[in-house]
Point group: C2
Chain length 341, copies 2
């Protein structure tokens, strides 16, 4: 097998998609507007509920979960309901995030709230949250013991609380004059890292691992998430415009509070002064990047990223995953950690 | 025991409140804004997070759940986590309902979104939804078998899907020219009856009842909910103003689509014409009531109410509850069904 990740993804993702459709299709009878709105968000139908094959997300979380189950000595199909649950949960958070951020588009399509209004979108998100739980409970039907399923569900909801804390902190930033580096790191820990940590943890729980192995997989997922997010922040300023498909300066123009910027603001009074201005032209962007380079903001962020990338790989090694799925986990890490776009 | 319901409520409700605080207090260390917003909604603190004893809801759902467990041969304290879960879930729906209805106040206090904005309120509701699940999973710690807990959780989420369908239908009414009596009844089946049905069902599941008994309790709760809601509709037009504390005409002035009105609209072209007008003065209200009386809208609603009230009592009898808790269930039914306000 030349490419374990690709080979596994090719069979795992369609199986997971099938499971999501099963719990979201209400017996498959008809797509009324209630289920239709959720199907629209998933990219399965257009806004008139006609069949569609829109670009879906990358399905990183379910792939992580299923690969861990297999690498840790379980059978990956056992974990399919859990992987589907995580992906549905992730999509519930996106539906509500889009309302909160007032985002008009996602993956090139109008967001749910933009078409059906915020009230229906709140309700669709709530419904998808409930469906995500129903998906998880189907682990029972794959022979996972009842007590383990309860633990998986409980950890899912504890993770949701962490996600909502991250979202709370993120939204609070808008009303804050200054956001510290520590506040930012605690925010991404909740918003990005917690669900990746849980994805890996769940895979290990379904495989029936011991607590220390479960903890290594969870820590692996968390560090991966933190490093991934900070890489995103770096690419948002210094990324190759051609590769990332948008102006690298976007994060500066929009005054996004990302790690390099927050570090820069903490170090440079000049940058703090500059960021109070309305400017968004090229000289402004160049000046900001110059200051960030001067205070070594990129090095600071890269150092943080590398520490967590290394820690992720250490935990993965300690977890001791085996076989093609074990290799796929290294490939997945490499893909997320070393991306240029 | 002269008053079984009062005696049981006096011990059950504080025990359930204690459980809710336990899962909502995050170790009890400090009330930061994240937990503080949820505590505010529960009436535990004011908007500056100072201690408060605000009027709480009537806690009918947990009381129903705990009484069924006891009446069905279980020990009510076993069901406390389930009762707390239901009450938290109910409150999650209220937080989101208040945003969707743009309601500025609830129980005499500003709503959560009114103080912290819709975005934070969406997030607080999501958090409370997750916490409601965590509460339910604590049934394990009271000795309920894992498989039963998974079933209770799954039924909780299936109920949530029904609730969100009811909410979807209710919100869709705003854009509909006509709402039929059947559409309305299916809406209240979701919005009001489903959670009462689940409350009674859960009590029976925790008590370890057989399927037929569980089904009788669920049907009892559902019929109770339907009769209760229609009674509410009747009181909203013909209730005693002094008893219900608001003008009985409110539902007519606000053009609320309640059962008697929808029945009236289906029967009378004159009423349909009248309801297109902007009027809200006394002659208008009198004219509407006159038409409703002419087409026997009150009798229609009362007939529906009585059928479901009788069916509720039949199911309760068939369920065969025993002891003081069994009597309390009849009292609770009587209280909900025969109220004058």
């Amino acid at each position: 097998m030349q490419d374990p990740l690709q080979s596994l993804a090719t069979i795992m993702i369609p199986a997971m998609e099938k499971e999501m459709r099963l719990v979201l299709e209400n017996g498959g009878e008809r797509i009324d507007p209630f289920y239709g709105m959720m199907h629209y968000h998933m990219g399965w139908v257009d806004h008139k509920f006609g069949r569609l094959s829109a670009k879906s997300g990358k399905r990183i979380r379910p792939l992580l979960c299923l690969s861990v189950t297999q690498a840790a000595g379980g059978e990956w199909p056992t974990a399919i309901p859990g992987a589907a649950s995580i992906e549905l949960l992730h999509n519930f958070t996106l539906i509500h995030d889009d309302i909160q951020d007032a985002s008009p588009t996602r993956r090139g399509r109008a967001t749910l709230w933009k078409i059906w209004g915020a009230n229906q979108a709140i309700n669709s998100g709530d419904a998808m949250f409930a469906v995500a739980h129903i998906a998880m409970s189907r682990l029972m039907e794959r022979g996972v013991p009842g007590e383990t399923v309860v633990t998986c569900l409980r950890r899912l909801d504890e993770t949701c609380v962490v996600l909502t804390i991250g979202q709370y902190v993120d939204m609070s930033f808008e009303n804050q004059q200054t956001v510290t580096v520590d506040e930012y790191l605690s925010m991404i820990d909740g918003k990005t890292a917690a669900l990746l940590a849980y994805s890996a943890e769940l895979g290990a729980r379904v495989a029936g691992c011991q607590t220390d192995v479960i903890n290594h997989y969870a820590a692996f997922g968390r560090d991966l998430g933190l490093a991934f997010q900070v890489r995103d922040d770096i690419l948002g300023i210094w990324g190759d415009e051609l590769l990332i498909g948008k102006s690298a300066a976007t994060d500066i123009v929009t005054r996004k509070k990302s790690l390099p910027v927050l570090f820069g603001l903490s170090q440079s009074a000049e940058l703090r002064e500059l960021y109070t201005q309305d400017a968004s032209d090229e000289p402004f962007v160049k000046q900001v990047i110059q200051i960030l380079d001067n205070v070594k903001a990129r090095e600071f962020a890269e150092n943080y990223e590398e520490q967590h990338a290394q820690s992720a790989l250490d935990h993965l090694a300690a977890a001791g995953g085996q076989g093609a799925a074990g290799e796929a986990l290294y490939q997945l890490s490499d893909m997320l950690l070393n991306r240029q776009a």
